[in-house]
Structures are given as C-alpha cells and as structure tokens.
C-alpha cells in the first residue's frame, strides 16, 4: 500500500513535540449560535486550559445520499460539514500570554452511528481530512464490533447519556480490543452538574469501565454548551474519586492521555509506514568498513 504523506518529517517532529498542557477535548458547536462559542473558549483559557477541541456532532440518520434529498427529504445533510474555527487575539488569553505561550485549538468530528453504512459518506467527503480528531458514538455492541472488524480507525469512543443502559455491554475482551487499536474512552462531566439522572448514569458507566478495564486510557472532557458549565482542571481531576479512578489516573485524564490522543491521531492521518530490516555483514578486522543500510524507521504509532 502506498503511504500518504501529508506531513513531511520536519513538521511531524515539531507536531509530536508540542506539549498540550491541560486540555479540554469536547466543546460542542451550536448550529444556530456561533458567537457564544468564542465566550466558552475564552473562559476555558482563563481557567487554566491550554488546548481546546471544537466538536461538530453528526447523526447518521441525518446523512442521506443526494438522490434521496432530491426526492424531497428535507432537513438532512448530504455532505459532512467543514470544521469551524475561532479567531483569538492576545487580549483573550492574558494568563497564557504572560508565560509566552499560545493556545492550541483543535477540531473534532463526532459521528453517532447505527451501522457501517456511514462509511460510504465518510470515504467520499473531502472535508473529513481537515479534522484533527475523530470520535464515534456506537449505539449497540454489535455495531461497535462490526466497526472494529472493518479496519476503520478512529481516536475517541464517546457516549450519549440516554444510551448508557440500553447500549454497549462492556466486557473485558471488547475493552482490550479497543485499547489495542489506540482508542481512548471519553467521560463527559457537564451533564453531571445539572441533572440527577444523568449523574447516576455517568457514574455507573465510569465504574463499569473500572471493573472491566481498570480505567485505562480515559479522558475527561466538558461538553459544555455555556461558559457556566466549565470547571478548572484541578477540580476535574478531583472528580476521579467518584468515577472509580486513582488520583494519578484522574490527573492523567486531563493532561497526559489527551496528549496521547493527539499523537495517535497524527499517526492515523499519516498512514502506514514500512520499516526494512537487513542483516549487516561485519568484518572480523573491525576497521569500520561494515556495510549497513539504514532506512527511514518511522512507525505507525
């Protein structure tokens, strides 16, 4: 298979070396109100986060082919939309600016799926390549299994609060399969503050992850639709006690695991590389005249 190099090696080194600091990887976009998005981002930067990912959510039911659109089913998309961006000036992030750092804004796409047919639209569209992260919300364990078998690669596995009790039944084998494919599990805390039923569901899901997978590779993110639902990174790490994690796992969930997600996404976009291993013939005299061939040893992360 030919390798699709979108980043040359210099770009890749600088991209892999960036330190994301505290990261919040889920700030959803309201289709109607784009002005409020900037307020949420500014508030997050004020609280101590350095990285923010802006999330566009798509439902598979809303993706329809052009034929069906012409037949009269209105209100549905035929194309996956372009990522939204936010412009920030130096006045918006005084805390970071005083340290001489710039905020990092990523883009993310979340797809709520019921079966594998969304891949038809996904592979056709060109705007998908502009997103940094890709997340999936599976409705049943069957569709998750079929997606894992198909060879499609994604970064984050998320959830919707209504689907927790009827949705995926987690087992150790399924969890371990996802971990082997560099997929991280996301827990959203904005619903916990407002609604008591959602609070119980999210806590039970988190405890489930702990029994089934020892809470490996979990990230915590806000999913905040208004600036009042955001919390400081230290507070979010303290939520680990309720969600069945250690203190160290809680701190990792805000900082280190988000960096892992970013790097895995970079590796996914780069594609598959090949490394060639050859046997070197060494002379007994050891005069430094050994023939060795070095190939570009960059691995798919």
């Amino acid at each position: 298979r030919p390798s699709n190099l979108q980043l040359d090696s210099l770009h890749l080194e600088t991209a892999m070396d960036t330190d994301l600091g505290y990261a919040d990887l889920n700030i959803p976009v309201n289709q109607g109100n784009v002005g409020s998005l900037k307020k949420i981002v500014v508030r997050a930067l004020e609280l101590g986060y350095r990285t923010v990912a802006i999330n566009t959510i798509i439902d598979q039911e809303n993706l329809a082919s052009k034929k069906k659109l012409n037949q009269g089913k209105e209100g549905k998309l035929s194309v996956i939309p372009e990522p939204t961006t936010v412009k920030l000036t130096e006045d918006d992030y005084p805390l970071l600016h005083s340290k001489g750092l710039k905020p990092i804004i990523l883009t993310r796409l979340t797809v709520i799926i019921t079966d594998n047919e969304f891949l038809i639209h996904y592979n056709k569209s060109e705007s998908v390549k502009n997103y940094d992260l890709v997340a999936i919300v599976p409705q049943t364990s069957q569709c998750l299994l079929s997606l894992l078998k198909s060879g499609f690669r994604f970064d984050i596995l998320s959830f919707k609060p209504d689907l927790i009790y009827d949705g995926v039944k987690w087992q150790r084998k399924l969890y371990r399969e996802c971990v082997d494919k560099f997929i991280h599990f996301e827990l959203i805390y904005a619903h916990m503050v407002t609604d008591r039923d959602d609070r119980r569901k999210i806590i039970s899901l988190a405890q489930n992850y702990q029994t089934v997978g020892k809470s490996k590779k979990i990230i915590l993110s806000s999913g905040a639709k208004s600036p009042l639902e955001l919390r400081a990174p230290n507070d979010v790490a303290n939520l680990s006690f309720i969600l069945g994690m250690n203190e160290n796992q809680g701190k990792d969930a805000v900082k280190k695991n988000c960096l892992d997600v970013y790097r895995a996404a970079l590796g996914r976009k780069m594609g598959v590389f090949r490394a060639r291993v050859e046997r070197v013939d060494m002379d007994v005299s050891r005069n430094g005249s050994s023939e060795s061939e070095s190939s570009d040893m960059e691995e798919d992360e």
Binding site: R43, A232, N234, D235, N238
Partner: protein
Amino acid sequence: MVRRKHRYAVVQLERTSSIALPYLDVKPLKASEDDIFKAVKIKLGELHGDYGRAVTTLGMRVKYLNEATRIVVLRARLGEPFKMMASTLPFVTSIGAESIQCTTLYIAGTIRHSLIFLEKRQKRIFKQVLEMFKSDKGQKKYKMSEPELKERILQITKLEM
C-alpha cells in the same frame, strides 16, 4: 499521641452572573461561614450519602473567609474525607440566595502554606490591577471612575483587618 493530619483547600467563589462579563466583580459576598458549611454539607449528603456526610463533617471546618475577594479556606481530614469533599466542590452551585461557581486554587498541608500562597497571589493581582489603571485600557474595563475605585479599595482592605 499521633498527629492528626489535615488538608487545606483554597477555593475561589465566582458569581455566575459575572463570569461572562469583561470587568472585575467588586461586590462582596453576602454569606457567612455557616452558610458555606451548610451548602457543602447538603451536597455531600446528595452525592455520598449518610456515610460520606458523617465521615467528612467530623473534621471539616471553614478556616478563613474573605467576603470581598470571595476566597475560602476549607479544612478536612487527610485521606478519604478530603477526597470526598474535593470531589463535591465542582457541584456546589448556590450559597444562600446567590448562584456561584467554585474553583480550587491550591491544596496545602498546613494553614501556613495556604496563607503564604494567598499572600503571593493577592500581591500579584494587585500589581496587575494597578497596571491596568495606568494604561488607557483600564478605563474601559471598570464601571466605576478612578477616585471611586480607590475609595473602594481602601474600604476592602479595612475589612481584612
């Protein structure tokens, strides 16, 4: 006698109505130490039940409260009681009649360290506020005029003492 160890959490309370606004919130909080204690106790009962509430309120106390800068220092016993209290602080949304939001600034092992942190922080913020006043941008960020704000600052420092 074995020493009883505690953890002190330095918490800032921000009003939800002033989060989205670009200027500083200078109104003092109308709450006493009892109000804050009650608000945290009730949330503990909701989240961790009877066991959580009993275990944490044993060694819990409000050690320092400054209504003007809206800063609270809460104490709890080391270990599980403190973890329970720290995990309920993000859920506290109202104290008395006002709706507020909590952010933990610092976790210290002794009162002395928490107050040292506070002193450094207040000095830094005071410098920033004065600098903002010197430049022209400061004029737009405050609702009060300069002499009014100076009087206000004097009032606030008298409260502390």
